[in-house]
């Protein structure tokens, strides 16, 4: 057991902290609005210019070849500094790992540098009106044509889809095959003729969602990521990263727990015994999540695979996030109804148990794969 950082890691932390302190912008409007998204893009390009956008990527794609440990450190510092939300995250954290694993060298060279530079902005095209938790029920189809694919159908709940330039998604390429088989992972520029994107309001009212319609949209063969008919297994590689560490690093919750602590001190007059308990609980759980990930990264570094464990991460951080915000609202008393970071954070926290596979799905995965309870 060694819970200390090496001098090199400490130096990396100091460099990140100093850069963030000097550069983090204050008071950006929400990145889930058109105006706010533009402001966030400016920030993303600044991150890229100084090679902080994708620290764990190879240098040739704009990264620093940072280790998983350094990535965790960067994330801690990022959230500690109160830096803006990452509007590029669905590309960087969800698509990129898949491109690194399954992409051809041409696809990697084409996609990754532009993604890192926030020139190509990627949205996720998985859910459909009839396929949410039951992802394998996807009915949007891509039919083989000479040299490519013709896509018809609809995707929905695409985060920031109205502001993205590209979409990665699963499409049914073999209508004869059932469910998980016959799906293909496709990469689609949203300016392709036949694509219609309509943004709509999330629970907080921001235009953070979009539905995407495909009417005879033609993409070339090179739009296939990881092989025709292989879509399910290719996609599962990203669900692991989405549920686990990379989407929600512990730094995010450590910073939120610290903001809650500061709120409790500031609002000492409304610190009831139950709110005090809530503050302690948020702190304990944020630290538990951090420590759990340190053990998990140790396992990854030493070659022990995480697998279904990532469902535990997802359950834990999503529930911690809600409890933390509920405590904040309690501390705010009558001010809780005011539109502000805590009330918005609370609404956003309620999406945690839904996206990346609902918590009900995750609990069934934990029960079946980690506990060995019978499927049926």
């Amino acid at each position: 057991m060694d819970l200390t950082w090496s001098p090199a890691e400490e130096a990396f932390r100091a460099e990140a902290r100093a850069w963030l302190e000097a550069n983090v912008p204050r008071g950006l409007p929400s990145g889930d609005t058109r105006e706010g998204f533009a402001a966030h893009l400016e920030w993303e390009r600044k991150l890229f210019a100084d090679r902080w956008a994708v620290v764990s990527w190879p240098e040739r794609y704009g990264g620093r070849d940072a280790s998983l440990w350094e990535w965790l450190i960067f994330e801690e510092e990022y959230y500690r500094a109160g830096a803006p939300q990452r509007v590029t995250q669905n590309g960087i954290f969800l698509l990129a790992p898949t491109v690194f694993e399954f992409g051809t060298p041409e696809q990697q060279d084409e996609i990754l540098p532009k993604m890192a530079a926030a020139e190509q902005l990627w949205g996720q095209g998985w859910s459909e009106p009839g396929a949410g938790s039951d992802l394998a029920a996807i009915s949007s189809r891509a039919d083989k044509i000479d040299g490519g694919w013709r896509i018809n159908g609809q995707k929905t709940w695409t985060t920031r889809g109205a502001f993205c330039t590209h979409l990665f998604g699963l499409f049914r390429t073999d209508p004869e095959a059932s469910r998980h088989a016959g799906l293909t992972y496709l990469l689609v520029p949203l300016d392709t003729p036949g694509v219609t994107v309509r943004g709509f309001g999330r629970l907080d009212g921001d235009e953070g969602f979009a539905e995407v319609f495909f009417d005879d949209v033609v993409v070339p063969d090179s739009a296939v990521l990881g092989g025709v008919g292989q879509g399910w297994s290719v996609a599962m590689a990203t669900t692991g990263s989405e549920r686990g560490l990379t989407l929600r690093s512990p730094g995010r919750f450590l910073a939120a727990a610290e903001r809650l602590r500061a709120l409790a001190v500031e609002r000492a007059g409304s610190l009831s015994a139950s709110a005090r308990d809530g503050v302690v609980d948020a702190h304990l759980r944020a630290e538990a999540y951090q420590l759990f990930t340190l053990a998990q990264v140790t396992d990854l570094v030493e070659g022990r695979k995480a697998g279904a464990e990532s469902s535990l991460n997802k359950l834990y951080w999503s529930e911690l996030d809600i409890a933390l915000h509920e405590t904040a609202l309690q501390l705010l008393g009558p001010d809780a109804e005011v539109d502000g970071p805590w009330s918005r954070g609370h609404m956003f926290s309620l999406s945690g148990p839904i996206y990346a596979g609902t918590n009900e799905i995750q609990r069934s995965i934990v029960a079946e794969r980690l506990l060995g309870l019978p499927r049926k």
Partner: protein
């Protein structure tokens, strides 16, 4: 950074687990509840002594294994998993290192397994394991005293966990061992850490029993464990448990390093595990249905020990309050006053 037990630590824990699987099956815990308890305990204590476990935290020069709190966590997880009906934690984590530090002549017999030592520092007035112990570490104000229980007329206390052999703390002065606040605190934190680690093992055992039961038990023609409601109930138990483990490990790292955060980190570990213990007991009893609500089935042996340990060495409320202090939180206010009556 390497946050995982070493191969040596895992090997030692494996050896203890192997021993306890044979030497402390549920029947032994059950026997400890009844009149034949003493014989079973004596054999088991001897086996633990032979493994060297009793002197785990005693320096090698004094005949111990020279291990630290970090090495002890996996061992106490195993002691918890088996619900060993003896004061292993009290002897190994609390009493033996103190006796070693003070060069006490009692150390040799204790480590050899000729004496059994218990401890109670919370000030509850009830001494767990009194009925099967020869020595007791008790607190008088800030002073720790060693009481010789030989020939003392004990007043037994019936506890929910019938294997605890508890009694009122006897009014015997005993011999002063230390009045050093740092040493007293360290003994207290070691006891709390050992309890937290045992709670992890106890929860594992309860969950294992619940999983085995719900895989086998059929209702409506299917295993009850194939029902989503049951799956999710037990998934929550694993979730709770798995996130307690690294918190307990960190507490051990801080305590072994003598870090100033040790107090808050042990408090975090004991608060979280005690909280988890309550939920785990409730959920695993529920998963067993009426079978879990009996004393004929083994589950209650582990449930009741976890209730006892959740309440010992500082309960949830105490340890949460310690964490709150470490965070610099102001005291809680009473929010019942109407707005115009508020005084602040």
């Amino acid at each position: 950074m390497r946050f995982a037990p070493t191969p040596d630590q895992l090997e030692l824990a494996g050896a203890v687990r192997e021993l306890l699987t044979d030497a402390c099956p549920p029947e032994v815990v059950r026997t400890a509840w009844g009149p034949e308890g003493d014989k079973a305990r004596t054999t088991l204590w001897r086996q633990l002594a032979d493994l060297g476990l009793l002197g785990a935290m005693v320096p090698e020069d004094d005949g111990g294994l020279g291990l630290t709190e970090v090495d002890l966590v996996p061992l106490f997880v195993e002691v918890g998993r088996a619900a060993v009906p003896l004061p292993v934690a009290e002897t190994v984590a609390v009493l033996a290192p103190l006796l070693a530090a003070h060069g006490s002549p009692e150390l040799g017999p204790l480590v050899a397994g000729d004496l059994v030592g218990t401890a109670e520092l919370a000030g509850s007035g009830i001494l767990p394991w009194a009925g099967c112990s020869d020595r007791a570490l008790v607190r008088s104000g800030a002073e720790l005293r060693l009481v010789d229980l030989t020939g003392v007329d004990l007043e037994p206390v019936t506890t929910v966990d019938g294997s605890r052999a508890a009694a009122r703390i006897p009014s015997v002065a005993g011999a002063s061992l230390t009045a050093d606040p740092a040493e007293t605190e360290r003994a207290w934190l070691r006891g709390a850490l050992a309890a937290a680690a045992q709670l992890v093992g106890l929860a594992h055992r309860q969950l294992d029993l619940a999983v085995a039961h719900t895989r086998e038990r059929k209702q409506f023609g299917v295993p009850v464990g194939s029902q989503q409601a049951v799956k999710h109930l037990l998934a929550n138990v694993l979730l709770d448990l798995r996130f307690c483990v690294p918190v307990v490990q960190r507490a051990a790292v801080s305590l072994a390093a003598g870090a100033p955060e040790a107090r808050a980190h042990v408090a975090a570990a004991k608060a979280m595990t005690s909280d988890m213990a309550g939920r785990t007991a409730r959920s695993t009893i529920q998963a067993h249905g009426a079978i879990g609500y009996t004393v004929e089935y083994d589950l209650h042996l582990y449930v009741k020990r976890s209730w006892a340990l959740a309440a010992s060495w500082g309960n949830v409320a105490h340890h949460r309050a310690v964490v709150a202090d470490s965070l610099g939180l102001p005291p809680a206010v009473d929010p019942s006053a109407l707005p115009w009556e508020a005084t602040r």
